[in-house]
Each structure stands twice: as C-alpha cells, then as structure tokens.
Amino acid sequence: MTEWTKDKEKRILFKYRVTLTFRILRVLLFCFLLYAGYSMITNFIFQQTNMSDKHVFYSELALDWTQPNLQTDLGGPFNKEITPFWTQKISYSVYRVVGTKSYYAGEVSINKPVLTSFANMQVKLNPQNNQKERYVFSLPENPKTGKKYNVLLNDPSVWDVLNKVEKGTVADMSFSTTRYLSPEELIKLLKPYDLHVLWMPLYTGELKNFDPGYAGSSDTLSVPNFGLAGGRGKDGSGQWKDTDLREENLKQSEESMLKSMKNLLNNESKTYYESFLGLHYLPERYDYLQKQGFHTYGAVVTGPVKELLKLKNVKEIRDPKLGDLEFWNWEKNVVQG
C-alpha cells in the first residue's frame, strides 16, 4: 500500500485532472448562478419600481417636439429590461398618422446607463418613411438679414398627384408659410378645410439668439425641426395626449409644452436633455417662447386628398411636400388620443 508504483502515479495524475475539471466547472456554474440570480433580482426591482417611466415620457416629449407626425401609443406596451450594470434598455414603436389611422413607422431604442453621459436614444424608422426629406420647413424670412422668402415653390408634382389619385384616399402633407403666424391664426386659416393639423414648426430664436445650423438655397432657409404637437402630460390618473391640434385644445397644448420644457430644465441636467434626448438649445428656446410667444411657419396636416388639394389656393402656403397615401379612413371631426 505504501510503496510507489507507476499505477499509483497514473491514478494520482488522472484524479488530479478530473478534480481540476470539475472544480473549474463548479466555479463556472457558481458564477452563472450568481449572475442569473443577480439579474433576476435587478430585473424584478426594475419592473416593480417603474423607474423607466420617466425616460419613456421625456423621450416621447422629445419626439413630439423634434419629429413631425411621429406618434407613440399612449400607455402602450414598451419593452424594458435592465442589465446587471443597471443600464436600462427600453424600446417602443412609433406610428405615423395618415387620415385617422396610425401606421407603424419604426422603433425607438433607449439605452440609459447609470451615467447619463453615456445614454442615447435612437429612432429607427422604416426606410420608406424618408422622414428627413418629407418634413423640411422653410423659414419665411432670414432671421439675420431680414430677407423675405416668399417665392411659393409650389412643387407641381404634389398638386398633380393629389389631383390624379382617387378621392377615396387620404394622405398627409407638410407645407411652409409665407409669413409667421400664431398657431391660432394657422388653425383659423385651415378651418374651412376638412383636415387635421398634426404638427407645427415653431420659430424659437434660431440664427438670432443661437445657431443650431441651417440648410437652404436662394429661396429657402431651414433650421432643425422644433415644433408644437398635440399636448402631452401627466395627471393623477395617468398620462394624456392630444393626437392633433385643434382650436379647442391649442392653449392646452401650448401650456403643456411650456410646462414640460420647464420641468426638464429645472429637474434634469443639460447632459440629459441635450446628449440623451437630443433637445439642443432648450433654455434659449424656452426663454424665447416665454417672452415672444408661439410663432409657427408651417404645418403637417392630414385628410382626404381632395381636401388637401384645396390648399393649393391658399396664398400663405408654400413649399408643400406630400407624405403617405392610404386607403380611405376618415370621419369628419374624429377626435383621437
């Protein structure tokens, strides 16, 4: 028993290899179980505390203000999870309103680590949505030089398409105006037509008080979109949202926009609303809207194609751009939201 043999040597080395393998596997299993347990606990806490609701709400506001005619499903389902490092991953669908129906347009993905500096929000739209070219609004005058841009720029193909398509069709379109109008004035201007106003670009002091960048030609000057959508807010019973802008809810939409801007400025860091939400020059814009009031220079509207065609004769409208065409879905004075 106590003498040394080759068999004993082999046995010891074999047992050593087996034990080492099992020990490594045991450590790996332990690490996996620890990871799984920790993930389950953090996810449970995350799901129970609704800590992601704030980010969802503010990201929806940012979309309302910077992405024309991009709607979210109010209170609708959104995917949320948290990584072991407490990075919140949230995603939800966005829709475009054409007529009175919403059509799937893409996904919003939010990645919110503990440090806001590394947070980001991505809007992935279906390629055919062509959001950037479709919703470009031209200022009626150059804020620096005062030069007026009143060439109508009526793209004949827009009116031609609207003229030729069947009347049982609805569409959305955007246009700019030849002068600044208050939202109330624009609503009144469009009142004779059976349309819904979904979004209005707002002038908030661009190129005068701050320089957000611009693009243009001899007859156009565009700045990054920032505008008024149907109001969105929170109250005791939950959230509310107006899908479109109407005479009766216009004041509420304006007030809720100012209130939300103020909340963001007071409660969140600059990194949060600029780097994360992409809301640049928010303090400057808020000051301008507070002091100068709301001035719009265009709109996104939707309705039956033949109603849209009538806008051809409105002398304040310039640079129209046609969006999507869909089969008939329209009822007069349908209120969504």
Binding site: T2, W4, K8, E9, I12, L13, K15, Y16, T19, L20
Partner: protein, 174 residues
C-alpha cells in the same frame, strides 16, 4: 504549458506522496492530498512563478493536509458526517498520543515514531533528514525563519530522542 505541468507533477508526485503519507498516516488520504496539491498548484502557478518549485509544492501539500484536518474538525459537529465522509483515518497535526508510542510493542522503526510528534516537528525532521532539504528550502516550505527552522529541528530531535529513550531503544553506549 500543460505538458510542462504534467512533467513537473510526474517528477514531484513521489516525494509529495511520501511527505503526505508521513503527515497523514494514510496511503489513501496521501493520494487524495497529492492530487489536491496539484489542483491547487495548477490554479496558483498560472498567476505566479516560483523559483523553488519543490519547496513551494511541499508548502502547498502541507496546507492541503492542514486544511483537510480543519475540515474534518468542523464536520465533527455535524451528526453522522464523520462516519459518512471521513472513513479514512488521519494523523492529527498534534501527533498521536505519546502513551500509545510507548505501548506499541511492534514499532521498531524510528521513522515510524515520527507519527507521535506534532506536525511541525514531523515536517521539519522529515524534510531535513529524509528529503534532504536545505535550511532555506525548509524555511520556504514551512513559512519559518532560518532561526525558527534550527530551533524547531533541535526540539524535534530532542522530542524524538525522548520517545526513543522512553521505549528503551537507546543503547547504553549512546
């Protein structure tokens, strides 16, 4: 690396086994503790280099033996655990009771008397006299200073001589 380790372990398996056999008194346990020494060495060798591998492996083996003893001591408090898990007897770090050494008629081998010494004496004498380690190697293997090694070795020999004397093995000429 794996091949080198295999060669290394093949080379040291025998001296480690006999050292652990001397410490534990059980051939089966010595086998188990030798492979445990290699497992520990593989994990530790990947992160550090050791100049004196022999001394370091002996130190790892000794720690494996002491840990096994502590584990068994803890299990004593669990009902039936000892009978289920610790079937193989082992010599404690304190050594076997001296009275037994005196009563044991059939033990004529001085080397076997080592089992009756505390572990530190047993290790020091074994590593010095049987394995032929230098003082500095024993220092590394047992985590002692050079002075402590010398003192321990002296005391161990004295204790062993005392046992030999008590058993009446000493010649009158000695």
């Amino acid at each position: 690396v794996e091949r080198n380790l295999d060669e290394l372990y093949r080379h040291f398996a025998k001296p480690l086994y006999f050292y652990l056999l001397k410490l534990s008194g059980s051939p089966h346990l010595a086998e188990d503790l030798t492979q445990e020494t290699f497992v520990r060495a593989t994990i530790a060798l990947s992160v550090q280099h050791h100049e004196n591998i022999r001394a370091w492996l002996l130190k790892t083996a000794r720690n494996a033996y002491l840990d096994e003893w502590r584990k068994r001591e803890r299990r004593k408090w669990i009902p039936f655990a000892e009978s289920l898990l610790n079937r193989r007897e082992m010599i404690s770090p304190y050594g076997l009771p001296e009275d037994e050494a005196i009563k044991a008629e059939n033990q004529k081998d001085v080397e076997q008397l080592l089992s009756y010494l505390p572990e530190i004496y047993r290790s020091t004498i074994y590593l010095r006299e049987i394995e032929g380690l230098s003082y500095s190697e024993i220092q590394k293997a047992l985590d002692l200073t050079e002075g402590q090694v010398k003192v321990t070795l002296h005391r161990a020999k004295k204790k062993l001589a005392h046992l030999v004397e008590n058993k009446g093995w000493r010649d009158e000429n000695d």
